[in-house]
């Protein structure tokens, strides 16, 4: 066994704890993909760590949590079934229709902002201030032909991400959305997988204000997600208003 590999073995535990950073972290991520011994040890450490919460004093979640999860899961399943219902010959129209809808919403947003600037303050102005949301388009050369559209709701905390043209990933890998501030740690917007056609439609919890976000990007990560991007930006956006 080489001295280099000895050092990598030393770091498997810290990597399992997601406690490495920078080049050391990226090096371990690359290594466990090629070394069966380290990958096996990593899996055992991850399983052991996954059991640690069992040692905590158990606390019951609030009863309404399941209701919210079930509702969201049913909505997502329904969207999946709708995709299967739309005839193949009409599926080419779905993205142009979506683009048309988003363009219409943007135009409406511009019109509302104009109305606000023209009217005096009052209850009707407050109603007009309800913008429909903000749209961010992610593009890049990381995956040719791929794109993503992030629509952030008016509350700034929730949104939806529509992805197309991304390569379906093998087991153990996932895509992850990032919100990167100018001078702080990137925050995750969640992980997602695409279907066999390379598409996905995902609800997003927006971790920070878009006004504080410098770049929004998508990378490929291990299936449980990462604390910070470990790969290149496959898609990104750095200008939205």
């Amino acid at each position: 066994m080489t001295e280099d590999h000895e050092q990598l073995i030393e770091n498997v535990a810290a990597y399992a704890l997601d406690s490495l950073e920078g080049p050391e972290r990226a090096r371990m991520a690359a290594h466990v993909g090629t070394c069966e011994r380290c990958a096996s040890q990593l899996e055992e450490y991850q399983a052991v760590l996954g059991s640690l919460p069992i040692g905590l004093a158990p606390i019951k979640p609030p009863a309404e949590a399941w209701t919210a999860i079930r509702t969201a899961a049913l909505q997502r399943a329904s969207r999946g079934r709708m995709e299967r219902i739309i005839p193949t010959k009409w599926r080419w129209a779905t993205w142009p229709l979506a683009v048309g809808l988003v363009t219409g919403m943007l135009a409406w947003s511009v019109w509302i902002q104009r109305e606000i600037s023209l009217r005096p303050p009052g209850p009707d102005v407050e109603a007009l201030a309800r913008r429909p949301g903000r749209l961010v388009i992610l593009t890049g050369t990381g995956v040719q032909g791929a794109s993503a559209r992030l629509l952030v709701a008016v509350d700034g905390r929730h949104g939806h991400l529509a992805i197309a043209g991304m390569r379906p990933l093998p087991p153990g890998r996932t895509y992850q959305l990032w919100f990167v501030p100018a001078s702080a740690t990137p925050a995750t917007g969640g992980t997602f997988v695409v279907d066999t056609a390379g598409r996905a439609w995902v609800s997003i919890a927006v971790p920070m204000s878009l006004d504080e976000t410098h770049v929004i990007a998508i990378t490929e990560e291990p299936s449980s997600g990462s604390r910070a991007p470990t790969g290149n930006y496959l898609l990104e956006a750095n200008a939205w208003r």
Binding site: E10, N11, V12, A13, A14, A16, L17, D18, S19, L20, E44, Y45, Q46, A47, V48, L49, G50, S51, L52, P53, I54, G55, L56, A57, P58, I59, K60, P61, P62, A65, W66, I69, R70, A72, A73, L74, R76, A77, G80, R81, P171, G172, A184, T185, A187, T188, G190, T191, F192, V193, V202, S203, A205, P207, M208, S223, S224, G225, S226, R227
Partner: protein
């Protein structure tokens, strides 16, 4: 779940929601944020059901990993840090208590084994692992927190994890005969 059957999601939820919520609350110290983590974790499982392998183990460490990552992200968010400074959130500790009435006997046994394994670690090793796992700290941050060299912290982490693996892997190995 692979067939899009939400009944299977409900079964998974009933079995592991308490575990996920307990972990989330331990990390973020706030019930509302812990609920957000709980919902995110199960919905991500639902979204990723195509890649879930039921043979991966007795404890769904993949589900725990999703929940932990989300909780650590919230922990590190600026609003949460501000609330911590203002004393609105009090971080929990890893102390255990008597089993709740809804815990099955085998779960109680496993919990005691895990508690015992953690308590048998030297204090420094246990502290290093807890700061990383529940606090989301990097090895460098732990070294700074404890006032110790980075190499020392890495040794504690490695030795502590190896001790836990030797103690606990036989209990949670998916190939273990029931």
């Amino acid at each position: 779940m692979r067939g899009g059957d939400e009944t299977a999601l409900e079964v998974l939820y009933k079995r592991y929601a308490g575990l996920v919520f307990t972990l989330a609350l331990r990390i973020v110290g706030d019930r509302e944020l812990a609920r957000e983590v709980l919902q995110d974790a199960f919905l991500r499982c639902w979204d990723g059901r195509e890649t879930y392998d039921a043979g991966r183990g007795r404890v769904p460490w993949w589900l725990i990993g999703i929940a932990r990552n989300r909780a650590i992200d919230l922990l590190r968010s600026r609003p949460h840090q501000a609330r911590l400074r203002e004393g609105e959130i009090i971080p929990g500790d890893a102390r255990t208590s008597d089993p709740g009435p809804w815990e099955a006997a085998d779960a109680v046994g496993l919990r005691r084994a895990i508690t015992s394994a953690l308590e048998s670690l030297p204090t420094a090793q246990r502290r290093a692992i807890e700061l990383a796992y529940y606090g989301g700290l990097t090895q460098s941050e732990i070294a700074s927190e404890l006032g110790e060299p980075l190499g020392t912290v890495k040794s504690w982490t490695r030795e502590g994890m190896e001790r836990l693996r030797i103690s606990l892997w036989p209990l949670i190995d998916p190939k273990r005969e029931e």
